[in-house]
Every structure is written in structure tokens, then in C-alpha cells.
Symmetry: C2
Amino acid sequence: MEPTGNKSGKKKVVAVVGGGLGGALNACYFAKRGFQVQVFESREDIRAAKVVKGRSINLALSHRGRSALKHVGMEEKVVSKGIPMHARMIHSLKGNSLPSLMSNSLSEPLLHQGKADGTKEHIEADLIVGCDGAFSAVRKQFMRRSRFNYSQTYIPHGYKELTMPPIDGDFAMKPNYLHIWPRNTFMMIALPNLDFTFTCTLFMPFEEFEKITTGDEVISFFQTYFPDAIPLIGAEALKRDYFRLPAQAMVSVKCSSYHIADKCVLMGDAAHAIVPFYGQGMNAGFEDCIVFEEIMEQFNENLSEVLPEYTRVRVPDDHAIADLAMYNYVEMRAHVNSKWFLFRKYVDNFLHALMPGSIIPLYTMVSATKHHGSTCLL
Amino acid sequence: MEPTGNKSGKKKVVAVVGGGLGGALNACYFAKRGFQVQVFESREDIRAAKVVKGRSINLALSHRGRSALKHVGMEEKVVSKGIPMHARMIHSLKGNSLPSLMSNSLSEPLLHQGKADGTKEHIEADLIVGCDGAFSAVRKQFMRRSRFNYSQTYIPHGYKELTMPPIDGDFAMKPNYLHIWPRNTFMMIALPNLDFTFTCTLFMPFEEFEKITTGDEVISFFQTYFPDAIPLIGAEALKRDYFRLPAQAMVSVKCSSYHIADKCVLMGDAAHAIVPFYGQGMNAGFEDCIVFEEIMEQFNENLSEVLPEYTRVRVPDDHAIADLAMYNYVEMRAHVNSKWFLFRKYVDNFLHALMPGSIIPLYTMVSATKHHGSTCLL
């Protein structure tokens, strides 16, 4: 994307820390404003990487999120790469049901490609934008300052990822669905990848994970709760892969303020990581970007006014989303099977009625996974 | 204090990080159990220091706190050094009133002296006890681990300390009182020091501090709210000292869990810094020490059982105290003058009825200060 230049003639420099979804989108927004953009990413170039390190965030792109992409001409490019997912497929213990739902799945690396930048050199910047995720290094600098409010809360659930290989070179299950196995206090989901595998993600309280210590106990557990998944994953692979990594933790992060003077600002998960059970993590990050853009316009790019205003406007909204996600998680634990989803739909609609400008109802709960760079776009 | 020796014959080594009140008390407790105790303190020996760096915690020693000292034979030694403070002295805008109250003041350095240790060498320890305060370095190691829940919340109030010098070699006000100037959303207190000075501490919202930018504005402010203090502090000293340091922040810290395996444990402010407006900060820390001692006895010093049990027992109680202190602060902001104290007394008594074992009613609000090592013991 070509910088459009700004009024003073001298380009302002912005250092975007983090080349993930939020960092990449911010890079486009600042470039469009004529800033000289430098993106810093500690991981290797996702286009060249054989094995993608680190973990995915959970993705659910709302209309608002799509319009964030559209503003920088990326909406069609991103959405067109997807595997369409027409509906959720609920795997009950006794059979499959199929609620109606239009949706779309695409590969997360594609979402990064056009934008991530591997540069690591030191530069002088007019502004540092911390888009470096839930465990943000930029935010650690905020922690060293006085009067920075901060909280991190881990939930009792963890997750494990398992791969469902192709069968005869094709998907083992219907690819055009978000597959969900809701089971009381835990559940599994599966999302299609471009290489014809599915990534299955099992969400469960850590204490339940800890009860399973042998391969036979894994099989027994799956026979009780996910019998249809055993032949699809393969019993031997299941026994082996289940123990490949410990269950991963999920954290909710809130902080305030989001800025230091006119020099540094936090966006996305770096500012407000939320638990994935509400599917609004990425949208809240994209919303940060849109709101920042609007405030930049309003205050004519005067950063000493823009940054405090961004904190003033965004902190309450982001904290509300984080609280809502946590509330939804707590409620979900208390509900069983499909009631999880009925409940969520109710909350969605209620919120949409309350805040039509900022909350778009989503008709499913989405948690994406990534070994193979899989994600889900609704 | 001589170690009493333990059963196995081989001494266990405990590294106590922090030579403040909690660290010193813990050192005594572990020594009494026969541990080899090493205390690590980054500041210089308080007995040799000319100027004491760092800030004081706010102290209010309850019966429970005194019994913590008594267990290691320190109660009389500490209490006997005090300047008796028989009552609160309320400085109203129009005159002084005097509610009845028995209390006691003593110099904080005395509280440290017998116990603090300046050792800085590296040692191998069976157990590390983090007693290093609200900005704990030990806790920072906990932050690097997954599933550590943590929050830090700064309140809108800050504080500034001012010195009231002696007049003709004697105290400028009656020394046997806790002097309080309650003024709506802010207040000042004064506590006697051993050198015949008083340390005055002004608590006020940061935004109010920021409004005062010149010496004349300081005098004008004091003429409006604390007219009787101007001649006692001295107008010129007031103009100068007010700007010596920026207003200091106050933080509430909560975290969980308090331990790592059987190796490390947090106590006192390191585990649960609370805002000073409830006067229970030191007691909660001393209570940690007593509870740990009881659990050590119960589990025969088996640290792999003791540490999880300590977390299980203490986290809910400490979080409740922290929440209560914050709640009390929020309520106080909404009340004026003496209603602050009436309200607090009500809460005290209510809590005592609820939890007689762990909450002893205090009949005043205490916030201590320290340039000259002043504190207040009730």
C-alpha cells in the first residue's frame, strides 16, 4: 500500500510492535495516513515458516471487523480465501444435529500474509503501537510505571489441540461446518484446515485434564464423551498426541490507561485479552484500530490529544467486553450441551439491542485453533 | 534468638526476602522452628542509615498483631518503645475536638532493629519467603509463570508528607495524640516522631494536587483548609517542602496462588498490598505469619503440603481484607469529615460480629508516615 503523505511533508514514524492480526491491520491504517510504518515481530516470517510457533487467538470476524478490513481494501482479499462454513455441526453422544447458520472459514496465515513484516532493527519513532498480544512486551514497560492498573485472570479451563488427518486425501468430516461436541463442563470443536486436516480443540477444566495420565485413560475418556472422534483421529495418534503438550491456559487481561504520554499506545490483546468463549477478541482489537483512526481524524493527528482520548473512550468498552466474555464463560460452565449456545444467542441479541453500534450478534460460539494455521470466520 | 533445632538434625534453610516488618517477624518464627534463616534486604541497615529510603507501610497493630509479636517474645520490646497516644485529636476548621481513645505511638525503625539483616550473598535455600512488599521482586518471578492471577489497582488519591518542626525543642502540638484534619474528599494526619517533629501526611486526589502549582497556591490552599497548621509547619517551609516530591501513589494488589510448588511463598504486602484507609495492612501480614506457623505445625513442616494449604486458607481472607479496604476507601470519599470515622467504626463492629477470630475492631483510622521513622500503634 502506498503512503498518501501527510500535511507537514515530513513523514511521522510509527513502530508497530507485533505482526499479528491487529499489528498488520494497524500498519495498513497508519500507512494509509502517510506514516512511515515499521512492524516488529519476534517470530519468523509466517510465509516462510515450516512450523508456526506460538498460539492462535480465537477469531470471529463481525460486520464491524469486516468493515475494518474494508477501510484498507483488505476485506475481499481476506474473505475470498476462506473455506465456506455454512453451519455448525453439533456432535451429540447419540448422533449429529445441524442448526442453520451461514459462516465462512479461512486460513489464518493468509490473514497475516500481506502485512506482517520481519524487521528487527532499532528505529526512532514518533509513536509506538503495542499490538503484541496477551503477553505483550510493550505492556511490561507500562507495568514499570506508577498508577498503571492491571489485572490478569486465568480461568480454570485449559485446552489441548489434536489433529484429525485426511482420509483418502479428503477431509475426514464435512469441511463446510464448524464441528462442536458440547459436553457439560467441557467441549471439543473442530475446524477445517487447507491441508484437509481438522484441528480439534478440547476445552476442559485443568483438574479434568490432570485425571487422564495414560493412553488407555485417553481412549476411555473419548469412548465416554467423543466416541465418533476416535476412529477419525485414530486411536494410536490420540494416545500419543494427547500427551504431546500440557493443557494450555487461557487468560483475561484488563488494564488502564492504554497510553504513555504522546509516545506509546496499546491495542488489541495487549490492551485487553479476553477469554475466547465469547468470540469477540479479534473484533475488539479491530475496533480499537477503527476508533483510533476516528480520533486521529478528530484531533488532526495531534498525538498528545489523541492518545488520552483513545484511553478515555476505549477502556470502558473494552473492560465491558472482557467482563462479558468472563461472565459468559462462568455461565457456560453452569449450563449443559446446547443450552450453552441458546444462552449465548440470547446474550448476543440482548447486547445488540443495547448497543447496536458496537455489538453485532454472532450466531455461534467460535474458538479457533492453529497448528496448521486454521481459523474460522463468521 | 537461638534456633531450637529441628527433628532431623540437619537444619533446613529459609531465605526471607525483605527485612521489613513481615520479613523480620518471619525470620523470628523460622528461627524459633530451628531453620537456618537468611534475610535479604536491598536497602541499607536501618540502624546505620542517616536517611531512610523507601516509603513506610501504614501501620495499625491489632491484638492479633501483638500476639504475633508475643509468640517470638517481641511484644513488650516493641510496645514499650512507643510514645503513648491516648486519643485522636480532630482538627476542625473552627477548633479542636477530642474523642476518647487509648492508643500508642512508636518509632518504626525500632520495630525493625532487632531483626533486619543486611546479608546479600547467594545461598541455596529449602524455602524462599517473599516478604518484600507491594512491589515485590519475588512476586515478579510468579508473574513469569502461567496461571498466576494478579491485579494491581491504583486509587485516585495520592499523598504528600510534610514535616512540622519542634518549637523550643519540644513538640509543636500535643504529642500523645493522633492528629487528624478530615476535610471532605481529602484529609491530613500528623504523627509524633522521636526527634520532637511531627510528620504530616496529606491525602488528596491527584487531580487536586495537580491544581496547586505555586508556593502561593499552597499557602492559599492551607489557609482555606488547614489554617492552624501553617504557623506550625512554617509558611516558608510549607512552600518549599510541598514541591520536594510529587504526590505518592497508593496501590491495592491481589494475587493467587501464594506459592510455587514447595519452594517459594509470598506473605504480607507482597501477597496482598491494601490501600491504607482501613489500617489492616500490617495485621494481615502478621496474620499470614501466624497462619503459616499453624499450618507448619499441622503438617509437620512438610512444605509440599504446607504451601498449598497456606494458599488455600489465606487467599480468600486476604482478598476479602483488600476488597474491604478498597470499599472503605470508596465509601470514605463519599462521606464528609467525622462521618468517615463513624462509618468505619460501624464496619469494624459489623466485621467483628461476623468474624471475631480474625478481625479486631479498631477505633480509629490510622495512616502512618515515615521520613523520620514515625509510626502509630493502636
